[in-house]
């Protein structure tokens, strides 16, 4: 599945890197997330055009001592969790326009 999982950042979030960790607030419900170093690297790497699998293999496995299969599985879990909060967009096709609907869902 991950070979065809494209991920991009929602434009409806607030985000800033603080002390090497990304802080992200959901535009949907103002939930605040802090990403650890690995998740931050994934966040910074996703662009809607490169598959998650490729990002993990090129960026994560190159920098961290981790089995590719394990890293991909963990990355999928992470992006799916963030997608549920509208922070990331995921698709089986490349995401050319990553501008997600902005504003808050009540």
């Amino acid at each position: 599945m991950s070979q065809h999982l494209y991920v991009s950042r929602s434009s409806a979030v607030a985000a800033r890197k603080l002390g090497g960790e990304m802080m992200i607030m959901s535009g949907r419900d103002s939930t605040l997330f802090t990403l650890d170093e690995v998740a931050t690297l994934i966040w910074e790497s996703v662009n809607g055009l490169v598959t998650l699998d490729e990002i993990v293999r090129r960026r994560i496995c190159a920098e961290f001592d981790v089995e590719p299969a394990t890293a991909v599985r963990d990355a999928e879990t992470m992006v799916e969790a963030l997608a549920q909060h509208g922070i990331l967009l995921i698709s089986s096709e490349p995401i050319l326009n990553s501008n997600a609907p902005a504003g808050r869902a009540k």
Binding site: S11, A12, V13, A14, A15, R16, K17, L18, G19, M23, M25, G27, S30, L32, T34, A102, G103, R104, A105, K106
Partner: protein, 373 residues
Amino acid sequence: MQEMASKALKLGAPLNVHLDVTYRCNERCVHCYLDHEDHGEMTTREIKDLLDQLASAGVFFLTLSGGEILLRKDFFEILAYARELTFCVKLKTNAIMIRRREAQRIRAFGVESIQVSIYSHRPEVHDAITKVKGSLERSLNAIRFLNSYGLKVIIANVLMVQNRQDYPGVRALAAEIGVECTLDPTITPKMDGDRSVLNLNVDRLALEQVFRDQSLVGNVAEFCATSQKPDDDAMESLPCSAGHTSCYISPYGDVYPCVQFPLPSGNIRSQKFIDIWRNSTQLTEVRSIRLGDLPSCSKCVHGSTCTRCPGLAYMEGNMRGPSVQDCEKSFARTGIPSENLLSRKASRSSLVHIEQLGVNGAELGPVVGQRAC
């Protein structure tokens, strides 16, 4: 959020910045602390450059305020740029220029919240405070537009002599519309030092009423409970976030610890923001102050629970001193006068005693009565 603030404090990062994009305003609120003349606002380019600097410095929460933000013709360009830089943007506005189209545009940019000032549910009271006829109706229409687009709206109600009985009505109005409501019992002196607006502060009786309103404070007994004098841990505590994880920037690029703490700490037209934030002698001094460094407040029974604002204290003449307005609040909340109020009363008694040596004491009676705390 607390974890985020602690991390920012540890890293010395400016988590929150309040940026006034203009002091111009289309209302003339009786209690306003600003000079509404334009003395050379930052240009669009300057503000965009500033926003770049703030993002690089680690600012997460950006409050855009004024004056009235929508009086800047480039406001939506500024807002768009701020959101491109992924700030968590909060807006403060009187909203009287917001109609359906503006509400749609604000929604499109995904701001976190919009705070709108509403002083009363009665037009004759609200409009008399803003000095703009029809302003309540226009602001409420805007709130309804914004709310209908799913935006988080917060009604901000400032308590003053003119509207002291109206906050329940404002809260009922907010509930009816379906938005949040806050109540602030503090009138701020003007930034030029003029303290005449403080006459609009409500009296202790009104404060007592507010502090014993369960719908406002929750558990009244807990909220109004007296406290012990500060312990050693409390002595090391910080007065507030001003200058530590937050600061204020005026439309002219002046950097202050807080909008309510007008201690000039640098100007972004002559220095980079990060240099001011890290190296300003004024901010460094503010950061050095702990509760234990406050001569009066460290001895006060309210020391560890008081809402003391160092900015208000600064405007009274000493950033390490007490703030009388907060002393009054602690007194109204608990029924126990602060160290500062006690010493002021004592010094006034001494003054009366000295004057009695040369003046007929009978004539002084009513004056003492008027001046007593």
